[in-house]
Symmetry: C2
Subunit: 360 residues, 2 copies
């Protein structure tokens, strides 16, 4: 094979060093004589993997002891339901910033009251609504946001006000792409498949005292955060191999990258390379309000759907995979998560420049 660069929005590219280690350990992990996939989740070998993964996460983001780290299945989509099942007693303030909050709103409405505290649908979600405390409903329990919007390429640079309310955030596409102060949130969730590992693991950071305000009609033990807290995410068999991979990715962040501050520098550098070109190009442009631009999901268009199509096809041939925009918006999108090397973005921009010249 020739070298390819994978700009998929998720599942997404993973660090080569991590994949190599996974391949090396596939038949014999840590001298156990077995694959991690074959380990009983109740074995000391797997318990060590689980503990090491959590410890590495705590070190990376300085997660204090009053926050629990949970591993749940079902992706962000199941969290869209679990959050209101557990915490929507009087209502939720949700800020609508695109596809993922729309789904969260739809699921929340099945289970409780929703108040839309902000909405950027008027400009095709190309900006983050700047709300004030007065935009919130006085009776709701929590404010809910999607911090980085994978499809539209927007990101909160400041968290919304939420005085007297809990703050719950979907960080699926930006978790560990930059330093994270979990104490600003009451709960964070993130599907692993963008920055942390393979699909099938959802990471939750939850402040323990949030569990004091649970609903009393949660329909299943598997949908109750307390079940995961009380059983160290092992009430039933967790996605053991996925957790192991998340652990390897976090060790890579810590040892190879040097932590989240260093990761942020690299991510800002990659984003600047692409945005600088987009802002100077006469062919390509990014539609997002400059102050709300995502560092990891960068949509762009030529304004001509036929030319977009030609670009995507030629890019694929040149080894730049998955640049097609989400089916709901079209155009192009480069997802440049943690595992995308700077070189990948530089080569993409070089390719775009050449394409622009040839098709001017």
């Amino acid at each position: 094979m020739s070298k390819i660069y994978n700009f998929s929005a998720g599942p997404a590219c993973m660090p080569e060093a991590v994949l190599k280690k996974a391949a090396d350990e596939m038949l014999d992990a840590n001298g156990s004589g077995m694959s991690v996939m074959e380990m009983s989740h109740r074995s000391s070998s797997f318990e060590k993997i689980l503990k090491d993964t959590k410890d590495t996460m705590r070190r990376l983001a300085n997660i204090p002891d009053d926050y629990e780290i949970l591993f749940i299945q079902g992706g962000g989509n199941l969290q869209f339901s679990m959050v209101p099942m557990n915490f929507n007693k009087n209502g939720a303030d949700i800020i609508n910033t695109g596809q993922w909050t729309k789904k969260a709103i739809k699921e929340t409405e099945k289970l409780g009251r929703v108040h839309i505290a902000g909405d950027s649908s008027d400009k095709t979600f190309t900006y983050i609504p700047k709300i004030t405390q007065e935009d919130l409903d006085p009776d709701t329990d929590y404010v809910y946001i999607c911090e980085n919007n994978t499809i539209y390429g927007t990101k909160y640079k400041e968290l919304p006000p939420h005085e007297g309310k809990k703050l719950i955030a979907d960080l699926s596409s930006c978790i560990f792409t930059e330093p994270l102060d979990v104490t600003k949130y009451d709960m964070i969730f993130a599907g692993a498949q963008k920055n942390l590992g393979p699909a099938g693991v959802t990471v939750v950071f939850i402040k323990k005292d949030l569990l004091d305000s649970q609903r009393n009609d949660i329909p299943s033990a598997m949908l109750d955060y307390k079940t995961y807290v009380n059983n160290d995410s092992m009430y039933n068999t967790p996605p053991t191999y996925g957790i192991y991979m998340v652990g390897l990715v976090c060790k890579w962040l810590e040892d190879e990258i040097g932590g989240l501050e260093e990761m942020e520098k690299i991510n800002h550098k990659k984003a600047a390379i692409l945005y600088d070109y987009l802002d100077s190009s006469k062919m390509f442009s990014n539609p997002v309000a400059v102050e709300d631009r995502s560092y990891v999901n960068i949509p762009f268009v030529t304004g001509n759907p036929d030319l977009d199509k030609k670009f995507i096809a030629q890019a694929k041939e040149a080894g730049f995979e998955n640049l097609k925009g989400h089916r709901t918006v079209g155009g192009m999108r480069a997802s440049i998560y943690n595992a995308m090397p700077v070189e990948g973005v530089e080569k993409l921009v070089a390719f775009m420049k050449k394409f622009e010249e040839e098709n001017a």
Copy 2:
């Protein structure tokens, strides 16, 4: 490392050939230039993996077109809730055969009515209750069973009567260990981590017309079987790597083993080797009613907890891992699923004979 044999009840040993292929393909699957973990679930590469996995399953068990094959997250435990959420309108007849049906009963009671149609708790679940149609509640929607009971080592050799009702079965520990006639059931589910692949994938075979009798108060799209049917299990990101591994295991069953009839022969042979010894031993015994014995989970005891402990420790030292019985019952248990070679059982029995002689 020296050779070990892993008798874990799940996650459990996997075919070595499958793990080797997974290791080989970790950085470049099918010439794609990427790992399966890195593939967008909407890419043609992953769509082919999903389709191939389902096609292989259909061939293995002759699954007809009026049954859908679904991949869900959350394990058997989430199914304990999803089944009543979707189908318990007037009640469920549940046959209680141990830990897993007890959990199913508990979750079902949160969501609807339960009638216990049979119960073997009177003899510590060492047999399968033989119920008749008269034992069923006339008003229930379905009969629910756990076909092979991992902890207690029992297995249904004949399905219970269920005239006028649907039949829903948990096959987590026996799926594809023998030929399977799905047309005898309305729905089957199975966590993958015993016979099909890694933890984190639940396989569901569901008769399409069962969806005509769904409840209308399902609280979440992610908990509604129709969501999976209507989106080919891709409403959200499925556990892509787990599905790929399930596909590799099923191909191994088809190509290396030669199908489910051949797999059954091997499993019966392995079980006979262990049961024959247990029935002739003066030290070890299996407590299960002979006609209800599982072919894949075989508990045994010496009758002396200290001797059990000594056996487990010495066995571990000799390379026989995870022989400790489930924490709720104690003693020993050998789980000898599809991937356990005949040789592993022969060597275990040789070790047990030696232990018996030395400790007579």
